[in-house]
């Protein structure tokens, strides 16, 4: 486990060196700029829109980091031929895959935490500027802890997406890995359409294939509770636990497959 930990820390350091965390500056500028602009553009609803924008941006920025860093985690080592010196060290191949994955998840966790902190700061400023009278008309308070539920599920979703990217990165080129990962993310977010495919086609075979894909592909739609929490709709602990457990199992399956493929790869 120590080897995995060291690899993970190195991946995190590398992402800092690669200026991945610069996206946080962009996020802060986006939120601060939007909070000013939205005040000019809309007749009220600024806090709701900032919450929507903040949560969507955390998810979108995280998605780009998970995909574009994830697809290069293993393939970059192979491309640069640094894989030989790595494998010469006393580490197993599976530890390399696990460490790389854990490092990127750590990067995402830090990234997400800072973004959520910035979102709360902007919301706090808005609440302070608008005053308690305006706050009475809001569906939920500006500094609503319920937002954290949406962020938590976004994190689990990003962990699944990272696992998908790492999985493809063990046997494919970066460009193809990016295409496959984005394809699966989009398909995963339309999972309800796959489930109900039998309502739009007459063919039983097509409906069966769609149904099989529904169970096989990652189901990412349930991770989107952003709209619910912004409107203050309760999300039960049971739901959060089930969706998180699904993500954990799916991630484990992908990582095991990735480790298996990587351990059998011939680098000669």
């Amino acid at each position: 486990m120590r080897a995995v930990g060291w690899i993970a820390i190195n991946v995190f350091r590398e992402s800092v060196r690669d200026k991945v965390l610069y996206n946080l500056v962009l996020f802060a500028v986006l939120l601060i700029g939007a909070s000013y602009l939205i005040g000019q553009l809309t007749a009220g609803q600024d806090v709701k829109i900032i919450k929507d924008l903040g949560l969507a941006a955390t998810s979108l920025f995280g998605l780009f980091i998970a995909v574009f860093i994830g697809i290069g985690l293993v393939s970059k080592e192979i491309e640069k031929r640094s894989i030989y010196s790595l494998l010469a060290k006393p580490i197993e191949r599976y530890q390399l895959v696990l460490g790389k994955y854990a490092g990127l998840v750590l990067t995402l966790a830090v990234n997400l935490s800072v973004m959520v902190g910035a979102l709360y700061v902007v919301l706090g400023c808005m609440a302070w500027v608008e005053g308690p009278l305006a706050a009475r008309a809001w569906e939920r308070p500006a500094l609503d802890p319920m937002l954290l539920e949406a962020v938590a599920l976004t994190f689990v979703e990003l962990a699944v997406v990272t696992a998908i990217a790492v999985f493809f990165s063990t046997f494919s080129t970066p460009i193809l890995s990016a295409a496959f990962t984005f394809g699966l993310v989009v398909a995963g977010r339309f999972s309800a359409d796959l489930r109900d495919f039998n309502q739009v086609v007459d063919s039983r075979a097509a409906a069966a294939v769609a149904r099989a894909l529904y169970w096989l592909l990652p189901n990412l739609a349930p991770y989107d509770i952003r709209g619910q929490v912004v409107h203050g709709q309760a999300v039960t602990a049971g739901y959060l636990a089930l969706v998180s457990a699904y993500g954990l199992l799916y991630t484990a399956a992908l990582l095991i497959a990735a480790m298996f493929i990587f351990s059998r790869r011939d680098f000669k």
Partner: protein
Amino acid sequence: MLRHGLPPTVVLITIVAVLLGAAAGLQRVREQRYPPPLITDEAPYIISGQAVRRMAIGYSALAADIYWIRAIQYYGGAKLQLANRLSADGGAQGALPDYQPLYPLLDLTTTLDPRFNIAYRFGAIFLAEPFPGGAGRPDHAIALLEKGLGERPDKWEYMQDIGFVHYWWRHDYRAAAEWFDRASQVPGAPWFLRSLAATTLAEGGDRQSSRIMWASIRESAEIDWLRNEADRRLLQLGAMDEIDELQKAVDRVAGESGSPPNDWQSVFRASSVPVDPSRTPYELEDGRVRLSQKSGLFPLPEEPRRMGSRVP
């Protein structure tokens, strides 16, 4: 360092700045010689909410916000354009904005975010209001509110708003009373809905009921526009009360003198002229008291009528 002594970074930044400045200058010249066409078609490109929801790939709440901003911007822009045009040439030149895109924009907003409360309530007021204040489509207002009720069947505010559209714009007091009654049965609904339902069913419209409804809208308004509209309507109701009082005084003078007065001096025997709540003097002509067309409260709404005196 280059031969002339300037650091390469400064030279590079200068070159980039000069090139960008030159490009902006060229764009300016091009726009002066070949002015870009004005975008006059405000209709949304896609009117299927489901299609937009799919294209949003999980970010439909954000897409709803964008359509909400567009709806607000469209309504504000159209209203301003109309006010300018109507005051400048009476709307004689060219086509006037007709608020037709407002319903599809609000429909898209509420499909993308079915709990976007303010979009339903905004639609209830400004879709139903007649042109030039709104789209003049109470049917669209009701359709939007019923869509909201489909998502939140316990939302008594939407039921009250549907009843309000029937009451204020359609003068269908029976339908209004039904909706007020339905709203009053929802747990947490305010007490006045029950008496409003009874009054509307028994007597039809009256000013007091109208006042209660606008005050309720004002109380629960989440945005300034709705609050301002409710304030304006409440002032109009106040002006209607004042006109009634003034008319009584004018009728009394007309009865005593035998001819209808044409100026306020002959009514009040003083130099003061009565003004409406927007501080514009009331007009008096042939014994009839009227709100001035210059008043910010003009035109007054059609008076809610009692059921027995309904004009066929």
